[in-house]
């Protein structure tokens, strides 16, 4: 396996992480490195706990085992105030955008600035307009979140995520449910923001094409394990059946089409009692 990512240069480092929800093991002793200034993608089918991983990195959930180091801090050992200070430097883009529904676009983007800084209102206005300009939605500042399309909401949320000029942004399924134009806009935005603001980006996604187009490094996760990793090119040429199935979208393969069940014929011929 390629091991070009050296821990010394990584901003986020996940080491021997295990996490389960109920009886289901979501992560089983996985280790991931996220290099500074790069776009790293976590890919895998729905339900593999990709969002959970982001919440673990953000310190919202606690792992059963293993450590997560963000910029030299062990996230789950921090005191509450330290964790909050760290979070100010981490942006996160939620799948739904998670805009506050009782505020308009402008106030949403201004929200972190108003909460964490004591800047005068005129300066907040300038900053907010700059961030909105960066995502191309300066004209939408007076709309309410329920008047926005899904793609617009995500771009606003992105403007909000970069409001405090964070060192990194975590994107939770940024492309899901978007039309091709919105997807294209987001791909372009993520890439250019990463370059211009020299951010570190973590993308969690199952949209193969869009992600492969911008990621510098990809981890493919399935059933709590890393089944493949490398640059997009390496992943494409991976010999793993699993990775191939995921990248090409074949219906059946190592990941089965059918949910585990007893034998089909037996099931049909049985008495129909509930089991």
């Amino acid at each position: 396996m390629d091991n070009s990512v050296s821990p010394q240069n990584s901003l986020v480092s996940v080491q021997n992480l295990s996490f389960s929800r109920g009886n289901k093991k979501i992560f089983d002793d996985i280790s991931l490195e996220f290099e500074r200034g790069k776009i790293t993608a976590i890919m895998g089918p729905s339900g593999t706990g990709k969002t959970t991983l982001l919440k673990l990195i953000g310190g919202q959930l606690f792992p059963e085992q293993g450590t997560i180091i963000v910029d030299g801090n062990n996230v789950h050992r921090l005191r509450r105030s330290e964790l909050y200070n760290l979070r100010k430097r981490m942006g996160m883009l939620f799948q739904s955008g998670a805009l506050l529904t009782d505020m308009n676009v402008f106030d949403n983007v201004a929200f972190p600035l108003r909460e964490h800084t004591h800047l005068p209102e005129s300066m907040i206005r300038t900053l907010v307009l700059m961030k909105l300009q960066a995502v191309g939605l300066r004209g939408a500042r007076n709309l309410m979140p329920n008047e926005l399309s899904g793609g617009m909401a995500r771009r606003i949320a992105l403007a909000r995520a970069i409001a405090l000029d964070p060192m990194m942004i975590m994107y939770d399924e940024p492309f899901t449910g978007q039309d091709p134009i919105s997807k294209g806009a987001l791909v372009h935005l993520i890439k250019s923001l990463n370059t211009i603001l020299s951010l570190t980006s973590i993308i969690v996604s199952h949209d193969v094409q869009e992600t492969a187009a911008i990621a510098d490094y990809i981890y493919v996760i399935s059933e709590g394990k890393v089944v493949g990793q490398g640059t997009p090119k390496e992943i494409e040429q991976s010999e793993s059946d699993w990775v191939q199935q995921f990248m090409t979208g074949a219906a059946d393969g190592p990941a089965h089409f059918h949910y585990p069940a007893k034998d089909y014929v037996d099931d049909l011929l049985s008495t129909g009692k509930r089991y």
Partner: protein, 155 residues
């Protein structure tokens, strides 16, 4: 977050209305106006039986409320009921031979202390004592006496 100034006006109106409601309850509905005991002085009256008198029962003179009962206790030596009367200090010219009686407002009404002024030149002072008292009329006792008497008369 928009229209905050109209919102503020409504909140202000709401709070003002609520406070007006509270004041209404305090002043118009309850006895706060008489509760504000500006200044009062306390005198003691000893009754053989204070009947159904309670703390806060009214004290009145000539039908006008001038104070209230502030404490009732039992004296285990004299077997009397010791009643503290707290009287508004504007009524500080009650003679020291005033009579205190426990009356009932109407047939079944609540009991109160009635003060009948005497003729002395000395006035009651704080901590003073009313010497002449008349106990509550206990309905059962009165009835019993009445029956007893009428039975005797028939003999």
């Amino acid at each position: 977050m928009q229209h905050t100034s109209t919102q503020d006006t409504f909140v202000g109106l709401f709070v003002a209305a609520g406070i007006v409601g509270l004041f209404f309850l305090a002043l118009q509905v309850s006895n706060l106006s008489s509760f504000t005991e500006q200044d009062s002085y306390t005198v003691t009256a000893r009754f053989e039986n204070s009947g159904g008198l309670k703390v806060k029962s009214p004290v009145s003179a000539a039908g006008v409320k001038i104070g209230k009962v502030s404490a009732i206790s039992f004296d285990p030596k004299t077997y009397e009921s010791v009643v503290q009367l707290s009287i508004d200090s504007q009524y500080n010219t009650l003679p020291d031979d005033t009579t205190a009686s426990v009356f009932t407002a109407g047939l079944l009404g609540e009991q109160y202390v009635n003060l009948d002024a005497g003729g002395s030149d000395e006035f009651l002072k704080n901590g003073g004592q009313i010497e002449i008292t008349q106990s509550a009329i206990i309905l059962e006792k009165a009835l019993g006496q009445f029956l007893f008497k009428s039975a005797e008369e028939k003999k």
